[in-house]
């Protein structure tokens, strides 16, 4: 039994140490400091760096989606770029063909991605481990071809893609479109992170983790594994899809070739480096996948890929719980609860 690794019988039935709840005033303080830190770039950064930070938050959101199904539920997906693409295209099509406002496209994009994710969750039930990785990998490889296909060219714009514009800042706010885009991204991503945080700390979240760690025991305790797994896929696809929608308006352009297999691989690398099964880790992952390639690109066009690969393997060998795990361990060393 590999599932009971190192767990001493008494440890399982012994009293569980319940951490003392953080006092309300301190939580409020954390929240205020958090919001201040998140909004500070609005005044500190000029437009290009603000755009990059926006993209980093968007990537963090996409990594969060992957983390829910992959980190917390243990279903390995190498194809989350596909959901990212569907979300981006849903928003782009609605905005450029039907003149919808960006906000109105978000629920549609979320529903579409959720439904597709739910649909893919079904074959995924019969596939575990490598097979699922392989199937989602091939999905990600096929996506650009499907997007380019002639039969949907009227909608997707074919190889040329679609152009769209950023939402205008509301009248009265002294913000440029770039600054407003950053605020929009913060609001949407913040809502999704909160949602994911609550989901993971709820009964369903514990059930997802139990399903990952020991499906047999989880089923014996009365959890409906099939429904948990497909729903995890749906929620995960939804969040990654919303990130795709945000990226479409932030870049103001979608095209098939920007959704190659490397989007999916990037999300996977972000998840591993940030921290598998860690919400905070997703944030680090987003920052990593956006800023490290920029630094590496200064060396050579191929360098980001090589450096990505090296860092990925180094993390898997030396820090399997990622950057978030490293922080957690440092925190424990210092006797501070992270």
């Amino acid at each position: 039994m590999s599932a009971s690794k190192g767990l001493h019988p008494e440890a399982a039935i012994g009293p569980i140490a319940v951490p003392a709840a953080t006092p309300a005033w301190r939580r409020g303080l954390y929240l205020l400091v958090g919001i201040a830190v998140a909004l500070a770039p609005l005044v500190l950064l000029e437009s290009f760096h603000l755009f990059q930070l926006t993209m980093a938050v968007i990537m963090a959101l996409a990594v969060l989606g992957l983390n829910i199904v992959c980190g917390y539920n243990g279903q390995i997906s190498l194809g989350h770029g596909a959901f990212f693409a569907v979300g981006a295209y849903a928003t782009a099509i609605l905005m450029s063909h039907f003149d919808w406002s960006f906000w109105a496209t978000l629920p549609v994009s979320a529903v579409v991605c959720g439904v597709i994710g739910y649909g893919i969750g079904f074959p995924a039930l019969r596939l575990a481990g490598h097979y699922l990785a392989l199937t989602t990998f091939s999905l990600a490889v096929a996506v650009p071809q499907i997007l380019k296909h002639k039969s949907i060219e009227d909608w997707t714009g074919g190889v040329q893609g679609l152009f769209l514009v950023k939402p205008d800042p509301p009248a009265g706010l002294p913000l440029s479109p770039d600054q407003w885009m950053y605020v929009v991204t913060l609001i949407v991503a913040g809502a999704c992170f909160l949602l994911a945080w609550n989901l993971i700390r709820s009964r369903i979240g514990r059930a997802l983790i139990a399903t990952r760690d020991n499906p047999t025991a989880a089923e014996a305790m009365g959890m409906d594994i099939a429904s948990l797994k497909t729903r995890a896929f749906a929620v995960s696809a939804m969040i990654t899809g919303i990130a795709g929608s945000l990226s479409a308006v932030a870049i103001e352009f979608v095209a098939p070739d920007s959704f190659s297999i490397f989007v999916s691989i990037t999300l996977f690398v972000g998840m591993v480096v940030g921290g598998v099964a860690s919400i905070l880790g997703s944030l680090f992952g987003g920052l990593f996948v956006l800023f490290v390639p920029n630094i590496a690109e200064a060396i050579s066009k191929a360098a980001p890929g090589v450096i990505y690969g090296v860092i990925l393997i180094l993390f898997l060998f030396l820090l399997p719980d990622g950057f978030a795990g490293l922080l957690r361990r440092i925190g424990q060393r210092l006797r501070i609860r992270p």
Partner: protein
């Protein structure tokens, strides 16, 4: 009718390539139950090595066998350095290591050799079509090479002591170790062999699809489809699956979906096989007791 016959023959020729890569995947899967996502990238690197040997003035067949030796060594080194330390790690870690390998080898190939498409020579170059235009010299030659490789691999596993030891190490590592087989080295040899087979496939397909660092991505997908179709734990099945996928892909490309959706055909085959018959056409049904 001539068109159909030609499509089938061309399908068999590309199917041979898929069959080789599928065989490489199955060899690693059999020994370790891991699917090597970097198999295609390794084959591309090998093909680039062959290309630079030929550019340096070596005769084709010297470069051909030289590349096989070098690729074998690369495969062994990769297994020793990267795969062995995580042999007992969770699946997520393994998949991560393979993806890392894919990124490193794929991008290093582009870094070293550049991203421009290169022409790779065929040893069977002759302009006149054979058998009344049914098959080109390269198609015939590459099919023969692939078949030779497959027969050699089969004979190696069937008739040599080393092949027997490798099969034993894959089938039952603990007992194999007890009778004195060095299981770790057998796995490394398996990796080397898989890399060498992949190299042959790369050199055979490069004259057709032209040589560039992403050359093998689609081929890897078809090889996956072939391996799954034949049963991922059955080498003979995988070879047959590879050939069938080649023919299917060509026919679907010519008559059903057009060339733009060929990769989607591979995706459809993969999902179809996994959902309808996960063990493939010839695979063993594995029941795990809980």
């Amino acid at each position: 009718m001539d068109g159909l016959a030609h499509q089938i023959v061309a399908g068999i020729a590309t199917g041979g390539i898929y069959a080789s890569v599928a065989l490489a995947i199955v060899m690693i899967y059999q020994a370790t139950h891991h699917v090597n996502f970097a198999q295609g990238e390794m084959a591309t690197l090998s093909t680039f090595i062959a290309w630079s040997m030929i550019q340096a003035g070596m005769p084709y067949w010297v470069a051909f066998f030289g590349t096989i030796v070098v690729s074998f060594a690369i495969g062994v080194v990769v297994e020793r350095i990267l795969i062995r330390p995580v042999a007992n790690a969770p699946v997520l870690t393994m998949v991560g290591v393979f993806i890392g390998l894919l990124l490193i080898i794929g991008n290093a190939t582009g870094w070293i050799f550049g991203y421009t498409t290169k022409v790779f020579p065929s040893p069977f170059a002759s302009d006149k079509p054979l058998f009344g235009g049914l098959v080109s010299a390269h198609e015939l030659g590459s099919t023969l090479v692939t078949l030779t490789v497959l027969v050699l691999v089969w004979a190696f596993f069937r008739f040599t002591r080393l092949g027997l030891a490798m099969r034993a190490a894959a089938y039952n590592p603990r007992s194999a170790r007890l009778v004195g087989i060095r299981v770790g080295w057998m796995l490394a040899l398996g990796w080397g062999l898989a890399a060498a087979i992949g190299a042959v496939a790369g050199m055979m397909v490069a004259p057709v699809v032209f040589l560039d660092p992403t050359m093998m991505l689609g081929i890897l997908l078809y090889a996956f489809a072939g391996a799954l179709m034949g049963g991922i734990d059955n080498p003979a099945g995988a070879v047959l699956g590879g050939f069938s996928v080649g023919v299917l892909e060509n026919l679907a490309g010519a008559y059903v979906v057009g060339t733009e959706l060929k990769l989607t055909v591979a995706l459809a085959i993969i999902i179809g096989v996994l959902v309808v018959r996960p063990s493939g056409l010839f695979g063993r049904v594995v029941l795990s007791r809980v």
